[in-house]
Symmetry: C2
Subunit: 470 residues, 2 copies
């Protein structure tokens, strides 16, 4: 699927932007020294040494991964620098530009950029991986494995030299259902992995047994929509919006990081989840942005959220991966009311899934979101009514601060994949007490994208004022 | 032609790498201030506001240029910075990387990169233009027009804001034939423009009248080859060589600048031209490089040179554009003997052309070089025997130093187009008393390309020692 989607404008790679504060005792040349390490015998472990068997024929049905015996690490690992003043804006411009270039399919499809010249002697990594090689969640796990909770550890190899651990590529174990409402069962894991379409579609093909339940569930969704029950969002509700345009090959990227504790307080007060607050902040930001662009649809924007729920037939610890549609309540001015509406919407959607078997959940999710795949075909994008307006994922990350040879990882911002018909993607990571938002969009279809990040921060203050009276 | 050739690996853009010494009184933020100018109303004049009518169908026979009313100058003009130490090597790495990215055909196909962080506070421009928009020679003229011979002029607009002058896109007038042997009639102009295949092929189609002369000339070439007369190089002589491999999408770039006076002294001593000395230095460098790679062919490498000669039927000042093949004498160890062999080879080849009409010259050149176009098709590259091994062009540039708002242009290095079957390109500019060599190659097919630049400098010393006994 991710190879099929690759085109001049659609690039199916994900990335992370990772700013670091250097160790107090670090050499000013530590990034150069890192490059010298590469030149003197660093190795690329699986999957970082895998390339496509037929790179000139991406859609080959016999496509597969083969080992590249001579990985040219000086190609994959690159040094860059920011022009003055080296502020967040310049960093955003550089990584936007890097994100707008294709990976080279004649090589293992990943790149690591060591970026120097950030303010106050700081540096950043930009790490790009094609989604066909590993999904964003696995990449995040591998990266976390390559960092250390110990600021005094100084001999950690670069991530691609770490031998693969089977543990690292399994989904994490899942908290019990109905647990901490600010960290609900499974949501983060699924959000992290993104929607795994091949898996979903395979399930649809292979497991027809679940069909009746699914058809009943879909009928529920559609009927609730027709009867004016807008709590359960159907694929027929999303309005036309500038976010659902064709895209160009250029990207813009903006970031925001917010204290996770402030989001948790709001989630608890609204009897919702952390995800619900993320949706409310996204909705508030999008409302302000679209109002300013004079392009706010009369009815609310609809978000698609990857979620994991425990299926009724699953007695193990595993979670089923699914997708739900939820309102962003962008038609509502009051932030507290918006959050309440979102909580109701996601609760109903998850209830719907929780009554199903694992196979049914996957099949249902595939059907719910499948029309959106049509949007990826250039000629239809922007013409069909969208199934949803924006994908919002929430990726769980480590709670403790992490270090690379004494340099402290300040934040972990995910960069995702805009496609034709979905010109904006919002993905969040939690890390060390923060929720890090990454807004990845098409440079041309989503003008002034960086304002979304600013408005997202303002939306938090507005929501606190409305919900807590702060 | 240049649109037809565009593919994932073959990118038909040319570029210039232009290092500057800043004005003594320049603000440390002068590049930022330049960007601010763009944001406050700079305009893009023709041809910098032209884009393709059907960018998704490059080969459209009805393809044409249309005006883009809203040129996004912040897209086209970009700031970059070098990582430490900001030396020539880091500059080479950055521009190699920039040269390996496609232009976006949904916009006017050019980019300007303002690169800071060079040693001693210096900066550089990297200017990329698709060959379908303007040829390298015209681009050079436009750029020169955008600079000033006056270091005190401080209000010159950026080149894309300068209204087009018809004068700038005509080929330069030509020195009389048989003039200064170190600056031979016409050679530079043709070298600058590169081989204009469409023009050549159109001439072939339309002007059959010249056929007899051409066939006779070709027969001459082939017969001289069969009879062991190796002074006149035929298309049957080029050996197989690593330079004639398939290419990847990544580039390497290396530069060398040499005092033009030293080359002129050698040209005079050998009764040859500046071009002959450029070939001798290229040949010397390639011999050392290929010996080191254990890949020197037993017979000499053959270069293709764009040249302009005065046709026998041309009574005006104009020159015909043609191509000749010349030996690089890489099978000869002695530098003086190598230069002598080259002088003989180019002299014979130009005599051959000078006896022809203008139409015949173009037709002859097209036939001579046409088999090489087959090499551009991926499946044949590396299998067919090459018609020639490397294209070497020599571009004339301004003799006086040029300035941009007080910043002195230190050198002007051309970056050209490797294609399948021609993994290396050598192009030279003369500028302000120097000959600036640009070696542009495929990162994978031409390993350690930067050594070619080093060996080119050493070849000059060797040649002086051999010819002048210095």
């Amino acid at each position: 699927m991710f190879l099929y989607g690759e085109s001049r404008e659609q690039m199916m790679h994900v990335a992370g932007m990772l700013p670091f504060t250097p160790a107090p005792d670090s050499s000013p040349d530590h990034l150069r020294e890192l490059m010298n390490e590469l030149r003197t015998g660093a190795t690329a472990q699986s999957p970082w040494n895998l390339k496509l068997r037929t790179p000139d024929l991406l859609w080959n049905p016999l496509q597969s991964w083969v080992e590249e015996p001579n990985v040219d690490l000086e190609y994959h690992v690159r040094r860059s620098a920011l022009p003055t003043p080296g502020d967040e804006r310049e960093l955003g411009i550089l990584v936007s530009r890097l994100h707008g270039h294709h990976v080279d399919f004649h090589r293992p499809p990943w790149e690591m950029h060591l970026i120097e010249g950030l303010e106050r002697g700081r540096f950043a990594w930009y790490l790009k991986i094609h989604h066909a090689l590993v999904d964003g969640y696995t990449a995040m796990q591998v990266l976390i494995n390559a960092l250390s909770p110990d600021p005094d550890e100084r001999d950690r190899p670069l991530f691609f030299s770490v031998p693969p651990k089977p543990r690292a590529i399994r989904p994490p174990t899942v908290a019990p259902e109905g647990g901490d409402p600010a960290n609900p069962a499974g949501d983060p894991a699924a959000g992290a992995r993104g929607i795994n379409y091949p898996e979903l579609l395979a399930a649809v093909r292979e497991q027809y047994g679940a069909s009746k339940t699914v058809v009943r569930a879909l009928m529920n969704v559609v009927q609730s929509s027709r009867s004016g029950d807008h709590e359960l969002v159907s694929p027929l509700e999303a309005p036309k919006c500038l976010l659902n345009a064709r895209i160009s090959k250029s990207r813009r990227f903006a970031t925001q990081s917010l204290p996770i504790d402030r989001l948790r307080v709001l989630a608890k007060a609204a009897n919702g989840t952390l995800n619900d607050v993320v949706l409310a902040l996204s909705g508030g930001s999008l409302r302000t942005y679209l109002l300013e662009q004079n392009a706010l649809p009369a009815t609310s924007l609809i978000a698609m959220l990857p979620v994991a729920v425990r299926a009724k037939d699953d007695t193990g610890g595993g979670n089923a991966l699914g997708a739900i549609l939820a309102t962003l309540a962008t038609d509502i001015d009051d932030p507290a009311e918006r959050l309440a509406r979102i909580v109701t919407s996601t609760t109903r959607a998850k209830q719907q899934l929780q009554g199903m078997s694992k196979a049914a959940i996957m099949q249902y999710s595939a059907l719910l979101t499948a029309p959106s795949m049509l949007q990826m075909i250039p000629s239809t994008a922007g013409h069909l009514r969208p199934t949803f307006n924006v994908v919002i994922s929430n990726v769980p990350g480590p709670e403790r601060a992490l270090y690379f040879r004494g340099a402290r990882l300040e934040a972990a911002y995910p960069m995702s994949i805009p496609v034709h018909g979905q010109a904006l993607n919002i993905t969040c990571n939690s890390y060390a007490g923060m929720v890090c938002f990454g807004f990845t969009g098409c440079r041309d279809s989503v003008p002034h994208l960086q304002r979304l990040a600013v408005y997202c921060g303002e939306a938090l203050a507005d929501l606190e004022h409305a919900v807590l009276g702060a």
